[in-house]
């Protein structure tokens, strides 16, 4: 079987001692920032991106991926023990997880979260291995019109499915696209929006936007919130769930994994949507829904499986189509580009070690996480006692050095400060930052594909609807818009007339 052959090859790559080390560093850092509220995987990956320049592409990707899914594990610890979501994906875990902890069942709650996450991670890894290659094969047939329509579809889906005000997400996508084209136009050599500043002629650095908005912007926002943290039940005793716990959790874990995998491949949906949906489903199918909110183990098992499945499956569109389905995936694409690898379906055939090595490392990483999170739980709990006022200056220091080291330029430091302020202001005004990052990454590519498509079709814009695959993307885009926008319009009209 080719699949097994490829997986063996992948394990061969992932089990080299360097890559094992990168995987371990990645999942440890991921657990750490997952446990700590106030810093998420987006900011961390943005800060650590410059350090990966000197690492081989496979190692860099393995480490960055480890941070991402490691954070999903770590987030549950804080949710269960402190009733604070370490990550947004763990918001619902707080509800029943914290109640379980108060009833002295913190151990089983943590264990079931880790077991569910591990199962979901394994399934997610298999999904990538199974569906990645056929998808990439289809994508090899894509030309400029298909790429343009595909990007249009993912941007629309990202804006529509993002949490919060849909119109605001769309505005942020447009703003991101505009920021993305700053610099020299590759086709005509015209300087766009560079205001005579030489540093801007290469465009705004991707890391500048990401660190500014997701590291500095977040810190500014956090400093406005009063800090309150009290670790519940410093001692976690008897970790193992009972047989009854296990039996109760099998269904939620399976359903959560399925829900997470489904939302995972959709652009724009963060792991929070997957875990929320799973919680709602569990409450619906439960024989006694009133147990939810009072320490039902299903309310931990389902959502924690869902968010990890979602995190793994987000890699499918990124690895096979070169399409970022979330802010973190936009950063991964950035990491590939910086390494000189053109993201897209060719990656799988031209750099198989990258694809299969990453897939295999994810399974290894998930295994490491179970070990890191269960026996070592005490270490992470202790970290929660480090106050934020000691933490954020360190985050700022790493951010500054990371950005400065990219081009040895102070200009990018100033620009980051500007994006930090802008990121904070936009978030406060209710404009979500991740859609901007997606637009920013896709902007130059979309323009390029649009131009090529028009050249190919001799200036005939119907090219997007006469080619079948492109037409399919356009139709899906239209359906998304109609399904999501129509009810909102109806509601608004109802508000005005009623």
């Amino acid at each position: 079987m080719e699949l097994f052959h490829n997986l063996f090859f992948g394990f061969d790559v992932a089990l080299s001692w360097q890559n094992l080390l990168y995987c371990l560093i990645g999942v440890s850092v991921g657990t750490l920032i997952g446990v700590l509220p106030g810093i998420g995987p987006l900011g961390t990956i943005a800060i650590l991106l410059p350090i990966t320049f000197n690492v081989a592409p496979v190692g860099a990707l393995i480490m960055l991926a480890g941070i991402y899914y490691g954070a999903q594990y770590g987030g549950s610890t804080t949710a269960i023990l402190v009733n604070l979501p370490g990550e947004t994906s763990s918001v619902v875990t707080c509800i029943d997880g914290y109640q379980m902890a108060r009833q002295g069942r913190a151990g089983p709650a943590l264990a079931i979260a880790a077991i569910g996450s591990f199962f979901a991670g394994t399934v997610g890894t298999l999904m990538i291995a199974l569906f990645g290659p056929p998808l990439a094969n289809v994508a090899l047939e894509f030309a400029a019109p298909e790429y343009f329509s595909l990007m249009l579809m993912s941007l629309v889906a990202a804006a529509v499915l993002a949490q919060g005000d849909m119109a605001k997400s769309f505005a942020m996508v447009a703003l991101g696209l505009l920021l993305g084209i700053v610099g020299t136009d590759v086709n005509t050599g015209v300087q766009r929006f560079s205001f005579g500043i030489t540093e801007l002629s290469d465009g705004i650095g991707f890391i500048v936007v990401a660190v500014g908005m997701f590291a500095m912007g977040e810190i500014i926002a956090n400093l406005g919130e009063p800090e309150h943290r009290s670790v519940f039940g410093a001692k976690v005793t008897h970790l193992f769930p009972t047989w009854a716990d296990m039996k109760q959790s099998v269904g939620p874990i399976l359903r959560g994994t399925a829900i997470g995998s489904f939302f995972g491949v959709l652009p724009g949906t963060g792991p929070a949507i997957a875990s929320f949906s799973s919680y709602i489903v569990e409450k619906k199918v439960a024989a006694d829904p009133s147990r939810f909110g009072r320490g039902a183990i299903e309310g931990v098992a389902g959502p924690e499986s869902a968010n990890n499945a979602d995190a793994q499956c987000k890699f499918i569109p990124m690895l096979t189509l070169g399409l970022p389905a979330s802010g973190v995936m936009a950063l991964m694409l950035g990491a590939l580009t910086i390494q000189g690898i053109q993201p897209g379906p060719e990656v799988m055939t031209q750099r198989p070690e990258l694809f299969w090595g990453l897939v295999a490392s994810m399974w290894i990483g998930n295994l490491m996480l179970v070990v890191l999170n269960l026996p070592l739980i005490g270490v992470w709990v202790k970290l929660l006692t480090v106050p934020y006022r000691l933490l954020f200056p360190a985050i700022m220091a790493f951010s500054a050095i990371g950005i400065y080291s990219v081009n040895n330029s102070s200009f990018e430091i100033y620009l980051t400060a500007l994006f930090g302020v802008l990121g904070f202001v936009w978030t406060k005004l209710g404009f979500p930052a991740p859609p901007l990052l997606l637009g920013f990454v896709l902007g130059p590519m979309m323009e390029e594909h649009l131009r090529r498509a028009m050249l190919m079709a001799k200036g005939d814009p119907t090219v997007f609807v006469t080619r079948p695959i492109s037409l399919a993307f356009i139709i899906i885009t239209a359906i998304i818009v109609i399904v999501m926008v129509a009810p909102a319009m109806k509601k608004r009209r109802g508000e005005i007339t009623g």
Partner: protein, 148 residues
């Protein structure tokens, strides 16, 4: 006339300003034809889209007056970016160690709680750690102190 204070209204104004600014600057870039799109096509279209979104929010903000949440720190908004700028200036003129000290002390000053002893200890420890990690171990080519 009293200006509306809803957050939607002001977001709208900001988007209109950015969009109109983009269209204004991009008017000099060749627009091109459908066959050969020029450098101006994408920015002008996006600028117009932003202006339209801005108008939508501004009008919506006149009816709906959700205000900006009260929980935010003006001190952090000003001090944190300034600490970053100080780092940039000192990196060019004074060296890695002064830049790091300024950044860490400056960042800490953005928080609500500032205990001088603790901050100095943290600042020295972080600077030492970063010198060891980035300059000695990873070999970044920055002078510790310019002129030394």
């Amino acid at each position: 006339m009293k200006l509306p204070d809803s957050k939607d209204f002001w977001s709208g104004v900001m988007l209109i300003a950015i969009g109109a600014g983009a269209v204004f600057i991009a008017r000099d870039y060749p627009f091109g034809t459908a066959l050969h799109m020029g450098a101006g096509f994408f920015p002008v279209v996006l600028g117009i889209v932003l202006v339209l979104f801005g108008l939508y929010f501004a009008v919506r903000g006149l009816h709906d007056s959700a205000k900006i949440e009260a929980n935010w720190s003006l001190r952090a908004l000003i001090v944190l970016p300034l600490a970053f700028v100080a780092f940039g200036i000192l990196m060019e003129h004074a060296g890695f160690v002064p830049a790091m000290l300024a950044l860490t002390v400056g960042s800490a000053a953005a928080g609500a709680e500032f205990r001088i002893g603790e901050v100095l200890a943290l600042s020295v420890a972080l600077t030492a750690l970063c010198v060891a990690l980035f300059i000695w171990a990873l070999g970044l080519p920055y002078p510790l102190i310019v002129g030394m």
